[in-house]
């Protein structure tokens, strides 16, 4: 068993997403800059160690930049609109007088260190959540995740797959049409130009989707299953209802002001409904799956490390999770949460190594002479 987990292969995309989601949940519950920085370091290291060579694997740095932008915007907004009072004044902006009906809002004024830090911590929390999403994107391709969708979501998955294929083709079509317009010596600008490009591109996309629909029909997509209509309806209701419940519960988990019922209880109920829907959908006959990504020990372990980190942060002391900025206190590093996060770093080794392209090995008894010898002989 242990050997088969170590053979080079791609980890199940669901495992990476669960791991990253757990870290994102951990990030959402703390504003401690040290813990947040640790989470960024962990995602960065694991991505560097286990990202495949696909076009998506570059997405981590893009999400990192979006995260930095989130911090910058948050701090800039605070500086403009002011907010928390403080004793350490960094600088004073001129106050812009506003009409009396905007009495609650202030534009300009003193900028305190306390306020800047509070804004930065808050922005960092959002930025780190972006990093976690970026890590999941870089570690798996969205297509492989779609491939492992449960049977109940099959049709939705196909629709997304087809839509994903549209983008690169539209880009190619725009390039072709632009050179075609130059061939006709036309140099439109602005709206006319967009109209001239958009209509043929959309026409082409429409034609392509009709062709694709014909090809899918001819290859057996949507063959009559043996499932009765009532079961299909039950599957759809359970799956959709469960997913909606889970989305609603995530709001409760992130916002501590929300009523308690929206948090964990709703999450559990939603997960149960979705699982029931998936189980019903899986029983629907008629389709099979080619080389599905296996879910083995390594997948369980990766998910477990993510959960361990999330739990360790969630149960941490409230004071350390949200360090005070008024009065100004240096953030501390809570031991339990830190150890939990270190566990989440282990997928960099737990996850099986990535498959590489086969090296070209010339066997010693190969009849083909090495290139150098040919060169010398001639």
């Amino acid at each position: 068993m242990m050997t088969s987990t170590r053979l080079p292969r791609m980890l199940h995309p669901g495992a990476w997403w669960l791991w990253a989601t757990a870290l994102a949940v951990a990030a959402s519950r703390t504003t401690n800059p040290l813990l947040l920085a640790a989470i960024v370091a962990i995602t960065g290291y694991v991505v560097a160690a286990r990202r495949p060579a696909t076009p998506w694997s570059a997405s981590y740095s893009m999400f990192l930049k979006i995260g930095l932008l989130a911090i910058a915007i948050r701090v800039a907004l605070f500086a403009l609109l002011g907010g928390e009072p403080g004793t350490h004044i960094l600088m004073r902006l001129p106050i812009v007088p506003l009409p009396s009906w905007m009495a609650g809002v202030r534009l300009g004024g003193p900028i305190s260190l306390e306020g800047v830090l509070a804004a930065a911590y808050d922005g960092m929390r959002l930025g780190v959540i972006f990093c976690c999403i970026g890590a999941a994107n870089a570690l798996t391709s969205p297509r492989r995740l779609l491939k492992s969708l449960p049977g109940a979501l099959y049709e939705a998955g196909v629709a997304v797959t087809v839509a994903l294929a549209f983008a690169p083709q539209a880009v190619a079509a725009v390039g072709r049409l632009r050179s075609a317009r130059r061939l006709r010596g036309r140099h439109d600008r602005g709206l006319r130009r967009i109209r001239g490009l958009a209509i043929p591109v959309l026409e082409g996309a429409l034609e392509r989707s009709v062709d694709l629909a014909a090809a899918m029909d001819a290859r057996g997509f949507g063959r009559r299953g043996t499932t009765p209509a009532a079961t299909r309806r039950a599957t759809a209701t359970l799956t959709l209802g469960g997913l909606l419940a889970m989305v609603a519960s995530s709001y409760g988990l992130i916002d501590r002001g929300a009523p308690g019922i929206i948090g964990v209880p709703l999450l559990v109920a939603g997960a149960a409904m979705t699982a029931a829907g998936f189980a019903l959908g899986a029983r629907r006959g008629g389709r099979t799956r080619y080389r599905p990504d296996p879910w083995r020990l390594a997948e369980w372990m990766v998910v477990a490390t993510g959960l361990a980190a999330a739990v360790a942060v969630l149960v941490g002391p409230a004071g350390a999770l949200s360090p005070s900025t008024l009065p100004l206190v240096a953030p501390s590093l809570p031991l339990g949460a830190t150890l939990g996060l270190v566990v989440a770093l282990t997928p960099a080794w737990i996850a099986p190594p990535l498959p590489r392209a086969k090296p070209i090995v010339m066997r010693p008894d190969s009849p083909v002479p090495a290139r150098e010898h040919v060169g010398v002989a001639s």
Binding site: T161, G185, A215, A218, R219
Partner: protein
């Protein structure tokens, strides 16, 4: 295996049915070739076999189509997917997934084939089509020939009894087309599969066919290839030569024709090859010197020197990706050279590979008006040119509804309106039937006589034999062979047209050459 019983298909808002009174039967293990002029209804007929007509396309189907004892009226395409594999004209448009392996498995997943069986069949199919190295590749990175073989493989994995292909080799260079056809004949001979395919370039496939279905306006003619081709409106050059020489039975392959041609070769030996009336003048219209063009650092052209003269027709050949299109695009100013020069004394007009890209109006009349405005010429210029090139195109038609030949004429009119000195055409004969091709040849010859330079990038050796004064062969972005078309074509086994192969070593290239020589015989 397949039987059509008095089938007529008509679409709403059309005056005549797409196909009418079609009756024939195809037995198990036969390779049936569907031929006919453009617009005769070949695609419609093929789509009837797996029920896409009428279940997907709409329209009315009278009569009955039986496929492996199933009636297509009651079985829609998805329920026939286990017996009929259908590959459409553009393989790329039919791909559902993104890698070769997934694409091969897609049909089996829909049919619910057991995972172990799926795994085995994917491996077998990769070997059968000779594409095991491509298994992990992204479909968009494949060459046209590889894409076509993957498309065939993707329907083979479900082990259908019948394979239907709509013009499987029309976009391929000759070696890639041979690969695809070799794979198909292997399926017929080794696996006993029934194959039905349509094709314009008959010279490639007709010798492999067991039966030919000729589609015409009032029905179909079905029979052995030699019997049907003897009075078919579309024929490959080797059959034209056989008809001219009166050989019986009509030879379909080069091998058969060479055996029959012994007497003809002796008769032609003392006769002079008719001189090709070239109108090439001394003035250069466009010229490239030491041209280097690269895409993202990968060179597509590595130091090409070429000049086209007034009144001259130059053909550029070479495999897919050899740099033909890049050369044309650079001449038209669409690609910036990395080094070297492009100089044109007059405007260069380029007809791209997808001529439809140049058309975007809703009616032919609007298209002509736009064209006059773009080219800044007197109103009516484009319409007059079009009337000259294709008298059967009407103002009210939508450019998309035109036939391939009519659309090409419209694009030619649009390009010619700007008065180019050099006309460059990228793969102009793709999808054209023989009569339309003959009209294009006449048009291009006339343009050359009027003093235009003409540059054609093509895979079509028969077109080159008919029209080119000079032939340039590109490989890996370099010119590897250049000279008078007759000499280059006769000396090369790949670029030789059928007539040259039959009459080798005599330097006759076309049936017309032979005809003219025989007339001048003392």
């Amino acid at each position: 295996m397949i039987s059509f019983e008095d089938v007529t298909v008509s679409y709403p808002d059309t005056t005549r049915p797409a196909i009418s009174n079609v009756s024939f039967e195809i037995g198990e293990g036969e390779l049936a070739l569907v031929i006919g002029p453009t617009g005769a209804g070949k695609s419609t007929l093929l789509k009837c076999v797996n029920g896409l007509v009428p279940h997907f396309t709409g329209g009315r189907l009278a009569g009955r189509v039986m496929v492996a004892d199933r009636d297509t009226r009651t079985s829609p395409p998805r329920e026939l997917a286990d017996v009929v594999g259908y590959v459409g004209q553009d393989p790329l448009a039919g791909f559902v997934t993104d890698t070769v392996e997934d694409e091969l498995a897609y049909g089996m997943e829909s049919l619910g084939v057991a995972p172990g069986v799926m795994r085995r069949r994917v491996e077998e199919t990769l070997d059968l089509l000779g594409i095991p190295d491509l298994r992990a590749r992204h479909l968009l990175t494949l060459s046209a020939g590889e894409q076509q073989r993957v498309a065939i493989g993707s329907v083979l994995t479900v082990h259908p009894k019948i394979l239907v292909l709509d013009e499987p080799t029309s976009a391929l260079d000759p070696p890639a087309a041979d690969d695809v056809l070799a794979a198909l004949t292997r399926l017929v001979h080794d696996l006993g599969m029934t194959v039905m395919l349509s094709e314009h370039r008959l010279e490639r496939v007709v010798q492999h066919a067991d039966r030919v279905v000729l589609v015409h306006a009032t029905g179909v003619t079905v029979g052995a290839p030699a019997d049907v081709l003897i009075d078919s409106p579309v024929t490959p050059p080797v059959v034209d030569l056989g008809r001219l020489a009166g050989w019986s039975p009509l030879p379909l392959s080069i091998r058969d024709a060479r055996r029959a041609a012994t007497a003809l070769r002796e008769e032609l030996l003392p006769l002079a090859v008719p001189a090709r009336g070239s109108s090439a003048g001394p003035d250069t219209v466009a010229q490239v010197r030491a041209l280097v063009v690269a895409y993202d650092g990968v060179p597509a052209l590595r130091g090409v020197d070429l000049a086209v003269h007034r009144g001259e027709i130059v053909a550029v050949m070479g495999r897919n990706g050899a740099g033909k299109s890049t050369l044309l695009a650079s001449l038209a100013g669409l690609r910036k050279p990395m080094s070297g020069t492009v100089s044109a004394t007059e405007r260069v007009g380029l007809v791209p590979q997808e001529p439809g890209d140049l058309l975007w109006a809703q009616r032919v009349a609007e298209e002509c008006r736009d064209s006059d405005r773009d080219a800044k010429v007197v109103a009516g210029t484009t319409r007059a040119l079009l009337a000259d090139l294709a008298p059967d195109v009407f103002d009210e038609q939508h450019p998309r509804d035109l036939s391939e030949g009519q659309r090409l004429s419209l694009v030619l009119a649009v390009i010619l309106a700007a008065g180019p000195g050099l006309l460059a055409l990228d793969e102009p004969t793709r999808g054209l039937d023989y009569p339309t091709k003959q009209r294009l040849i006449a048009i291009l010859k006339r343009l050359a006589r009027d003093g235009h330079g003409v540059l054609i990038a093509t895979h079509d050796v028969e077109l080159v034999a008919e029209i080119a004064d000079r032939l340039v062969v590109l490989a890996e972005g370099e010119i590897v062979n250049e000279g008078p078309a007759r000499e280059v074509a006769v000396s090369s086994p790949i670029f030789a047209p059928q007539v040259a192969k039959v009459l080798s070593p005599l330097p006759f290239l076309t049936v017309r050459d032979v005809e003219t020589a025989l007339v001048t015989r003392p």
